[in-house]
Amino acid sequence: MQRIEINPMTRLEGHGKITIFLDDKGNVDNAFLQVVEFMGYEKFLIGMPIEEVPRTVSTVCGVCRAVHFMASMKATDEVYGVKPTETARKLRELFYYAHYVEDHMEIIYALGLPDFVCGPTASPAERNLVGLILKVGVDVGRDVLKKRFAAVRIFEILGGRPSHPVAAIPGGWSKRLKEEERQEILRYADECVELGKFTLKAFKDLVLSNPQYVELIKGDVYKVVTNYLGTVDEAGKVTYYDGTQVFVDTKGNEIGRFSGKEYLEWIAERTLPWSYQKAPYIKKLGWKGIEDGEGTSLYSVGPLARFNVGNGFDTPGAQEAYEEMVEFFGGKPVHNILGYHWARAIELLHCAEKVKELASDESITAPDVRQELGEAVGEGVGIVEAARGTLIHHYKTDSKGIVTDANIIVATTHNKGPMNIAIKRAAENFIKEGKVDEGILNLVEIAYRPYDLCFACSTHTLPGKLPVQVNIYTKDGELVKSLRNFK
């Protein structure tokens, strides 16, 4: 049996590898997406005062730092049995929307678009962010980066730092916004909206105008039929900071909804012997293996899942783009995973429009950003929609608010099963009779990039046993022996 390894995987956050096994005829027998890094936050948070947790877990990742910060902050609210003050909630949302703008921008331009703009089988030396900028023009690239800076600056004003934010307070926000800062944010908001509009236009001009790409987007190679999980507001619209978590099935019908601790009734995780990352499934449907199609218990999260779960967006530009995408695919749910990129671009505009809306609200500078806290009630669950999907932080504390237990389920973990199916399907389609080259392997890698996977986030805990592989090489790089404690 021949074995092909894509290692390291590229244009993702974190480290991973894909292993493809070929049968005797050189066709794909099986394929695995393996996560090869390990962190361990859930262990070392134990013993920490809960109010120190948000700024600490924000360091799980350098890209999606605001999402862990936000989910754990919401959990601290519950630990102290409080809801954020009205102004604190507005500040949190404004901060979060700004984060979405800069995060989605990065994923679209640096990780997703190079495959289309530079060509899916182009040399890796060209198929990257620099290659993208050279294709679209240096001035355009500079302008897009400048507009992303606007979102990062809003993030910094509110969160304290452009990197890992620190302004979390249970039931509040550590800083009151000054009027001059609101005015500054308002100016940046216009740039964010322009970035959102430009990105959608770029997606249409560079991707949707190409019939070959449209065939890939609409075809069956990059299609994974699963259930979906997303968060909606009271009107059923897509939302991120707060709302109700809803599951829909492969036909788009609602399976059920939950909030807070109820996630335990809905989500179970399966430890896989070949990866540090666990595979979640819908508990009420039971484990049915890593298989897609009608009746599967796997579910997907992220922009396309939110698109499938929600009934639209609450801002005009995003709603218009949403309707256009529904029409393109001829209805919902959309299982074509390249649609993730498009849905992400719609969300970028949506969040930019929300930044503008919140920054226009003069009452956001009101002083009620903190409140008195009593004794800790001892348990809290914070759920947000991270840029790459539903994120759950669950903590238990003693009466002084010292963490005694922590559980984190991140977006990339939810997508473990679907991603594995996606890469296997692409490998089966493109690798025939043992013929493999760099271009073909990238066509396999294209299958995971829509999910915007972040392995740094998803490898936060130990499975039952730590899988270890030791490779022994000669000084010339020849593999002598490989030892491992897993099958």
Binding site: R55, T56, A167, I402
Partner: protein, 124 residues
């Protein structure tokens, strides 16, 4: 480079020509309201600004949050946590306040425990 967070922090009373006051109580960031311009360490919020590199421009302090040492030690410090403990202990007015410090390892060594002398054997 080489300046501590306190040296670039607008809250530092010394930079305003005032004397530093001893720390009379130890507070968690969830306790009480943080004043906009006061030194957080003086107010009892254990801030590690005195021993941390201040290239950040005291950014956490600008949003009323104490420093936790992510910038690493100021020059000449071999063990960040030990120096932080020393700095805070010197600022406390009463020895008994030490018992009020929650989770000291994750406070003083949040970013530096693997590099600390703790747990290492002394050379022969």
């Amino acid at each position: 480079m080489g300046h501590a967070v306190c040296e670039v922090c607008a809250r530092n009373p010394v930079l305003r020509g005032e004397k530093k006051k001893p720390v009379e109580e130890v507070r968690r960031v969830i306790e009480g309201g943080v004043e906009e311009e006061a030194c957080l360490l003086e107010a009892g919020y254990l801030c590690l600004g005195p021993v941390t590199q201040g290239d950040c421009g005291a950014s956490c302090l600008k949003v009323n949050v104490p420093c936790r040492g992510c910038g690493g030690p100021i020059p000449g410090v071999r063990d960040y946590g030990l120096r932080a403990i020393s700095a805070v202990a010197s600022a406390l007015e009463d020895e008994g306040l030490v018992d009020r410090i929650e989770d000291p390892v994750r406070l003083f060594y949040r970013y530096s425990l693997p590099g600390s002398m703790i747990g290492k054997r002394l050379g022969k």
